[in-house]
Symmetry: C2
Subunit: 348 residues, 2 copies
Amino acid sequence: MEENSTPAKRPTIKDIARESGYSKTAVSFAFNDPSRISEKACRQILETAERLGYIPDPMARNFSLRRHLSIGFLLPQVVQFSLQNPYTLQVVLGIGNVCEKYGYTLTLIPPLHKSITEAVRSAAVDGLITMGMQVEMEIVSVMQTRLLPYVTIDGTPDAQMPSVNIDDEQASYEIMRLVLEAGHRNIVLVSLSEDAFASPTKAESVPNKRMRGYIRALSEAGLALDPSQVLVSECTMEDGITIGKTILALENRPTCVVTMSDIVAIGCILACKQAGLSVPDDISIVGFDNIDESSCIIPQLTTVDQPAKEKGRLAAEALFKMINKETLESVHMEIPYRIIRRESLKKL
Amino acid sequence: MEENSTPAKRPTIKDIARESGYSKTAVSFAFNDPSRISEKACRQILETAERLGYIPDPMARNFSLRRHLSIGFLLPQVVQFSLQNPYTLQVVLGIGNVCEKYGYTLTLIPPLHKSITEAVRSAAVDGLITMGMQVEMEIVSVMQTRLLPYVTIDGTPDAQMPSVNIDDEQASYEIMRLVLEAGHRNIVLVSLSEDAFASPTKAESVPNKRMRGYIRALSEAGLALDPSQVLVSECTMEDGITIGKTILALENRPTCVVTMSDIVAIGCILACKQAGLSVPDDISIVGFDNIDESSCIIPQLTTVDQPAKEKGRLAAEALFKMINKETLESVHMEIPYRIIRRESLKKL
DNA sequence: CTCATGAGGAAAACCGGTTTAGTATGAGTG
DNA sequence: CACTCATACTAAACCGGTTTTCCTCATGAG
């Protein structure tokens, strides 16, 4: 207010020190530990600060204290897709609740123009939660070099890689058995495209684990998997619709479509409805995740229930333990899932 | 790797300078502006950095460069509620897309234990987007004192308050006219509770503007508004269900419920379904926002379509203009809305 | 009276980068 | 040959806080 000619500059701790007649140290104490100075000094300093409009620079504080008070969530896809997938959203919610509890903010980190690697190099956070990460990835070594704590959800458990997962292979095996027991033999599988974090060896990626589960059930039933039975989809409803149309156009239309994501499954259902087909009378559809929408849509979706919010919560709690140095070793959490049988799978 | 006995410390620019035989300045140039040094020096420095596992500290860089490379979104409620409301989520998506474009991260800022004021004081961001903010609020003066650019969505336009809005009063007026034209006279209004940012004078808050629109339409039809006709709800589906039950228990059950939020309206619909009542045959329900779910639910919801993602986009674009000092004055954007007439409103 | 103690506060180092100001060297120029 | 200029580099200041170290002085105990 006083200095209205200059382009407006915030007062610093030094200004308050000078103006109040005390030292920088005293000003710092007035804000952080008033017991260290006299009441009179504290009062005068705070009054001066108020008068000059001084608010301690958060960046300078955090820099000095070597902390960010924020944890990062590395978006698996562009913002749009990531948050539009209810499964991912629930994960974010779980993380966010924990952040709230600890008084931290949650930084959403989109893959930058540059690259994900660059995003991780420059991320201003105390720890990072990622989805679908595997040890071989470049960003892992970046996080390690930065000594940045991290936890991955739906990634590959490893000594170097704290993780939160369900038993994807077993869950997939079980739901495929359900499909087979319902009498289906002509089945199309819809896998998920490995997203942003492309990796050389994806043997242990979630889509691969699930695929192994499917295949195991199929081969126990004496069925081999023909590559033409497998399609790949982005994890979006739009892509689910596209895939649905593709499937309906197949000359040998399957009796059941097994997807790795409810949001894709719902896309398929919509495609069927648009084509005038009935689910499950004309074609059965199976999902994965059990998002809220899956119990609302008609027909209700047969799927694997996995507690997304809980995954986020556990990952975040583990991350905070690491940030606070309460944990030294890499923890691996495997949480329960449930097979949910509903209308979209019909007995032949 | 070399120093495995000590508790692991990251090398700093000074270490690289010493180890490579060049100065800190040279190391800085090697990473930021290689043209300023010789190729040989650059090569040696980068090689040393690689060998020692040096990654420039983002915090120190940002501090030195006086920037955060992140913008903040002040959550209007706890994380859980904010992101579970599809309207808010779309706003976040719109903001996120712009952040992505500019290579910024998006920091979600929950109201801290401390207080929202404390959260804003210590937010490590280059600018802030808020919802429902009004000039009188304490956080506004904090942002001004911090010289932190900000834009509010669904807040009160003001010389001090850049904003993105629709014409809430007119939209509400129009949808209420629709209700009245359909013959309804026994109407209950469900307003929204003013959230976290309590304010002394809320004359211009969005709920109040909408209420004015409703009242104008009502009085034009010769109807006065009895306070008992107005209920207040949190902006969550759960609270919508509760409100719905409350309404159904009224002795003089209304023929139409007009809400200020689709998510609340959907809650009411669910409450009606649970009670075995038909919407709209037994009771009509009207919403606001036109979230995606509103066109999926049965009955489809009569509502006001407002472009949530676009609101987020515009707010973020304006904010970046302010951050980059391209705009000096406070901008106010008012964008179009559309009245959407669908099944949930029945003609009497 | 002497000495230990503790309170209150200041000076300076520190966090890890960027940037300004300045130096040494060698090439080009009239 | 003296002068200018560009190149390649360094030292030191700087960003705005926190924290360590140290000084001074008043107080109370022995």
